[in-house]
């Protein structure tokens, strides 16, 4: 550690009050009241000394900044995409891409939804269809590549709607909502061959591609001798473009991009980014943030980094398994996902078991986690609730921030809550925002 950030301890009474004020939504708790923050791994990484040095090299020229050209070169070299449009974060890239590629009535198949991604698809007039393998919806199933696509599901969609109404297949590495589960190279290759036949693009949500590459290296035949860098390049080579939230894998606090191989899409994106984000050589980012991103991308594909990163998540997951806590298996790349349905079988899904569990975990020791279940899933365009099969609480591990001792505290606290699980009550929603309700919804405890 080269620089530390001081933490504040709180008392149970303080946490009780903070939780009530936040309407039992961990998103609404002030971070000052949090001891260990596992809300997200997005934008919460500790940057390296090299990245901080890069921050000082920021060239804040409005047009043609050096840092942009550095970033462009790194994206081309490490990720292998031809054209880069920076954006202030991942959802900025999703917004632009969806507006360019999706027409009203289009179908976008993908390996499980992600909250912001699906919303952008819907707002652009498209409809998301899940084509992930069934194993992904079963938290107990130990299949190593639960991020895989079921090609027969895709085929059915093509037969039903026609390939012309499918602008692209959306592939995430690794799959966040399934518990940080990877897709295998073999599956991706097969998908590529299949979509090529139907002339359908593959767009890559590559926010955790290095973590996915690590699982391929560890678990897939023929990849144990390949470097993370090589595997990442190979994954990307089977896709036509990508949206990236650099706030995850790329170890920065802010930033993202859209990268494509098709010049026409690039040109359209470049014209659009000026309206939403900023001129195409800064995309709404300070020059220094592009520099930190360029350096972070290089670091993210280093073997030692990714091994320590995923290793820490596995350490926490195994510790929780030893306590008998029901978690999603296999353990994912960026967090441990607790199965709230099994943890709190007495709370029906409409009373938000995962939300209730996240609140309870905060209360015990000030550990902040996030609901990834019915609240996050939101409502269909017709207003009905989605009822996702997975009702999870995500313990997301920020990169390079917490130590092993922190992991021990987290597991111990989860075990204490598990011991008194029968006393935990469900919630009712008292305020529901129109979009992405999980961010700002408020709840009350059921009596």
């Amino acid at each position: 550690m080269k620089m530390v950030e001081l933490l504040k301890m709180t008392t149970l009474a303080q946490r009780k009050k903070a939780l009530q004020e936040a309407g039992y939504n961990t998103f609404l708790i002030h971070s000052d009241d949090v001891y260990i923050d596992l809300l997200t791994d997005s934008g919460t990484s500790a940057m390296s000394d090299r990245q901080w040095a890069g921050m000082m090299l920021g060239d804040e020229a409005y047009a043609g900044s050096r840092n942009f050209f550095h970033l462009e070169k790194v994206v081309q070299e490490v990720y292998g995409y031809s054209y880069l449009v920076p954006t202030h974060q991942g959802r900025g890239a999703e917004n632009i891409l969806s507006r360019i590629l999706i027409r009203k009535g289009d179908i976008i198949p993908g390996n499980m939804y992600f909250t912001t991604t699906r919303l952008h698809q819907e707002l652009a007039g498209g409809k998301f269809e899940d084509i992930i393998i069934d194993e992904a919806h079963d938290p107990e199933n130990e299949f190593p590549f639960k991020g895989n696509v079921d090609l027969s599901k895709l085929e059915k969609l093509i037969n039903k709607y026609g390939a012309a109404r499918i602008p692209y297949v959306s592939i995430a590495t690794s799959v966040n909502m399934a518990g940080g589960q990877p897709i295998s190279m073999a599956n991706l290759k097969e998908l590529r061959a299949f979509t090529k036949k139907h002339k359908i693009r593959i767009i890559h949500d590559m926010t955790r591609v290095a973590e996915n590459a690590f699982f391929i290296q560890q678990k897939e035949k023929g990849y144990d001798k390949k470097s993370i860098r090589e595997i990442v390049r190979e994954i990307n080579s089977y896709t036509d473009g990508a949206t990236m939230s650099a706030k995850k894998d790329a170890l920065v606090n802010i930033g993202g991009f859209l990268a494509v191989n098709d010049w026409d899409i690039f040109e359209e994106a470049r014209n659009m980014v000026v309206v939403y984000e900023g001129l195409h050589t800064y995309g709404g980012l300070a020059g220094r943030d592009m520099e930190a991103m360029a350096i972070g991308i290089e670091e993210s594909v280093s073997k030692d980094h990714i091994k320590a990163r995923v290793g820490q998540v596995l350490y926490l997951g195994n510790k929780m398994l030893n306590y008998g806590i029901p978690i999603v298996k296999p353990i994912g790349g960026h967090g441990v996902f607790v199965n709230a349905k099994k943890f709190l079988p007495h709370i029906p899904q409409e009373n938000f078991p995962a939300q209730a569990l996240a609140a309870e975990l905060y209360l015990d020791a000030g550990v902040r986690t996030m609901e990834r279940g019915i609240v996050s899933a939101g409502r269909k365009p017709n207003g009905e609730n989605y009822f996702p099969k997975l009702e999870l609480v995500r313990f997301t591990i920020p990169r390079r921030v917490y130590t092993q001792a922190h992991m021990d505290v987290i597991a111990e606290s989860a075990a204490i809550v598990y011991d008194r699980r029968k006393k935990i009550k469900g919630l009712k929603m008292v305020y529901e925002p129109k979009y992405l309700r999980f961010f700002q919804a408020k709840f009350e405890k059921l009596q």
Binding site: F27, V34, G43, Y62, Q89, N271, V275, G284, F439, Q440
Partner: protein, 458 residues
């Protein structure tokens, strides 16, 4: 009186790379005669914009190190919110990654086909966001604002009579907002007087239309009020700023200007219901409401910068440095907008290059000449930026053909500015040799950012 010096000294420097006129000629060619497409490494003095190009103070850098990057509920946000509430007096504060995002959210919410937004002068991205929503933007600048060479103290004022008339014409129900840009960037960085703000506020009240400020340069505007408007000489800048915001129902802000930040912006308002709607939209494209697409450290830097900008010694130096360049150019007979604005010197390209017809973009031709002569990057604010085509494909020109030399805050010294004056004067002497330009390729919106051109040589 002694020379007005910078109320700061240099703590960290950034080297400049020098190139030759010959190299610059080829850079210009490769950039298709569009300064936006030149790499910053090839620029000697970058006066393209004052947006995001400020030098932060050591205090701001310390704030950068203090940034709390929690996704939700970061203390950096709460400090930011408190500062902005204190300055604007508005309770609802929404951070965005920069000013245009604040504008886009606002206009997507309340704009749409059939709606009209009236302003003193809308800036390029503001106008683009309004038009993107399907609405129409109307500029009603006062008469003095239309004549670059005639000095007047408040050339950014809105024509209040025309405002009343336009509201009656279009119907108050079709006008969701009146926007005052302070200072008036496209009109030469000219200030709006308190009296004018009051008068516009009165009209807004009468027709029950909310008044919003495009407040990017609120402190520079406040300084001009203190210097030029009767009854304000003895008031402090925070007092003037406070009064200025008290007439508004909300504001959009690009923190990349008067907050000395390299990135960031916000929306502030009194209406809770509008804030709630804006936040719903914010989450989709920007980020969670307590970070709005910014790193926590940037929220810290903005909140510190907002306080620094209201220091009188700083504002006096800032405005004086613009005046200094203006005076040098006026003395050499160069046609400039007078008096000097708050953040930039504006050359009058129509008068500078009378031999180049408007549809050959004299302003753009002048920016190219300045670059080639001395590596100075400036921006055209004229018919390339704001021009439109009629149904016959003929250019409808903008009111003014200006070239803006925007001075980044706290970045360049007096000798840099002396160099700029020399280059401009040299170009002025050779002005007859400058050719017009024609467009090769352009985008449908905000074309000036990516347009490609070539010189017209006979």
């Amino acid at each position: 009186m002694h020379t007005i010096i910078e109320p700061f000294r240099i703590k960290s420097i950034e080297p400049i790379y020098f190139n030759t006129a010959l190299e610059r000629k080829s850079v210009l060619e490769k950039a298709f005669y569009n300064p936006f497409l030149i790499h910053s490494n090839d620029v000697i003095i970058d006066l393209l914009t004052d947006s995001g190009t400020s030098a932060m103070s050591s205090n701001q850098w310390a704030g950068i190190m203090n940034g709390d990057e929690s996704y939700a509920g970061s203390p950096s946000f709460f400090r930011f919110k408190e500062t902005v509430q204190g300055i604007t007096g508005m309770p609802f504060i929404i951070p965005t990654h920069q000013g245009r995002a604040a504008e886009r959210i606002l206009f997507e919410m309340i704009g749409g086909p059939g709606k009209f937004f009236i302003s003193n002068t809308l800036f390029d991205t503001t106008r683009a966001n309004i038009e993107f929503s399907g609405a129409t933007g109307i500029d009603l600048i006062c008469e003095e604002g239309k004549h670059p060479s005639i000095p007047a103290p408040f050339k950014g004022n809105m024509d209040v009579k025309a405002l009343t008339q336009t509201i009656k014409e279009k119907g108050a129900e079709n006008i969701p907002l009146i926007i005052l840009t302070i200072t008036n960037n496209s009109g030469g960085g000219q200030p709006v007087s308190m009296q004018n703000i009051q008068a516009v506020h009165k009209v807004c009240k009468q027709f029950q239309i909310p008044l919003f400020l495009d407040a990017c340069r609120f402190a520079e505007n406040a300084w001009f009020i203190k210097m030029r408007e009767e009854g304000y000489a003895d008031k402090t800048i925070p007092e003037i700023v406070h009064e200025l915001f008290s007439y508004a129902d909300g504001c959009t802000m690009s923190a990349k200007k008067d907050a000395f930040a390299n990135i960031g912006g916000f929306l502030a308002m009194h209406s809770e219901s509008l804030a709630l709607q804006c936040r719903n939209l914010l989450i989709i494209t920007e980020g969670f409401p307590t970070y709005g697409g910014l790193a926590g450290r940037d929220l810290e830097a903005i909140s510190i910068g907002l306080k620094e900008v209201m220091e009188e010694n700083y504002l006096q130096y800032r405005v004086r440095s613009i005046e200094y360049l203006t005076e040098k150019l006026v003395a050499a007979g160069v046609p400039v907008m007078r008096p000097g604005g708050g953040h930039a010197v504006y050359l009058d390209a129509k008068e500078f290059l009378p031999h180049i017809p408007i549809d050959q973009y004299p302003g753009q031709a002048l920016t190219c000449a300045l670059y080639e002569e001395g590596g100075i990057r400036s921006v055209e604010i004229g018919s390339l930026m704001f021009g439109k085509y009629d149904s016959g494909g003929k250019l409808i020109p903008a009111t003014l053909e200006l070239v803006r030399l925007a001075i980044p805050r706290r970045v360049y010294t007096q000798s840099h500015i002396d160099y700029v004056a020399e280059v401009v004067i040299d170009v002025f002497k050779k002005r007859n040799q400058i050719h017009g330009l024609e467009i090769l390729e352009e985008a449908p919106a905000l074309r000036h950012f990516t347009v490609k051109l070539k010189p017209i040589t006979v």
